[in-house]
Symmetry: C2
Amino acid sequence: MELKQGIFYGVSVGPGDPELLTLQAVRVLDGCAVIAVPQTKSGETLALDIARQAVDLTGKTILPLAFTMARDEATRDAAHRAALAVLAPYLAAGQDVALLNLGDVSLYSTYGYLMALAQEAGYETVMLPGVPSFCAVAARLGIPLTRGNQPLHILPAGGDDLTAQLSLSGTKVLMKAGGHMETLLAALEETGQRAQASMVENCGLPSEVVSHRLTAGDTGYFATIVVREERT
Amino acid sequence: MELKQGIFYGVSVGPGDPELLTLQAVRVLDGCAVIAVPQTKSGETLALDIARQAVDLTGKTILPLAFTMARDEATRDAAHRAALAVLAPYLAAGQDVALLNLGDVSLYSTYGYLMALAQEAGYETVMLPGVPSFCAVAARLGIPLTRGNQPLHILPAGGDDLTAQLSLSGTKVLMKAGGHMETLLAALEETGQRAQASMVENCGLPSEVVSHRLTAGDTGYFATIVVREERT
């Protein structure tokens, strides 16, 4: 008889407030014996801290995974392969493994890379969608992101051509603005939109900061800026 | 003694699967005496059908609201004012009212308009974020929407300048593609991206249809198309 392999889940935990987990995420995490979570260099496991407040993880195997922020693709690929090597024995032994992801798993997440490697290795993978940071930020600011037929542009603050992207019609969201504030403020000034920009740092976390106007200065990594066409 | 007014909540119920409600949405709906929901001409209340499977709504006051799809702003504004007039007596009497919204409440929702009117009338409003259709669609297709520093452009299929918007770098999502398929297919052909497009209709509903390739023909109103830079 063939041993049934485990399923490799990518579970969205939302941006910070544990109440933003979906019923589906709670159910699947309840049923997973193994919980994997990205860990920062300083040992923080933010997605785990969030999930732990919504789901009882007692007795589960917790696997902190170190990923690199290196720009070099080979270095990052090696980190992804090393992470999968940590998870694979559990999947092979028939245990379901959940990798926790901040925000929604389809957006700028590590799971996408590991999912591809896991599929290559013959494992079943399932993505569980969640609340992206920008939706939680809009709710926190109390503003709609789009009306009528307005487009919405989600732009990583570290991306190329920011001034051109900020000139697009519609609403713009700048993700992971921390460490890029000087460049961002210059691009917002250049496109005449600084007055339409609002920011939430660490949305839903105890360290949350809401700024209805942008000022110069350092922000946390998880700072999200919303730039509207007009301030209503 | 002043009577405490009710709170007017905009509650996201996600795109279709009742398990995509957040814990927060379930808690708030549990506590609201009055549930308002957009109703189509034919009497359908899809957001209510979804919420009902996740929360026991027995004994609550259900208020179906008729909105117009008219392009004329005055007509739409009149419909929004009429809807608020239905809700306001409950708020004034101290009852919390939840307006159900498909997907996430900050994106293309009716709540935004009613929220502004309710605030003008002096009521407290609260938005509860949720899972947008495109995140659920990406999960259903099993594909990441963005990697690295890729932008993501959310485009209503009925919007202007589709060919220009589809030429932007990054991933494109076409929302509410139903009724626009002929124009969309032409724009995708023109920008050489038809082979990179996938579609999910009625994601998470019993009537869900997943198309990894686009074909001509009618689709439901809630069809979401993902156009990737490359098909991996």
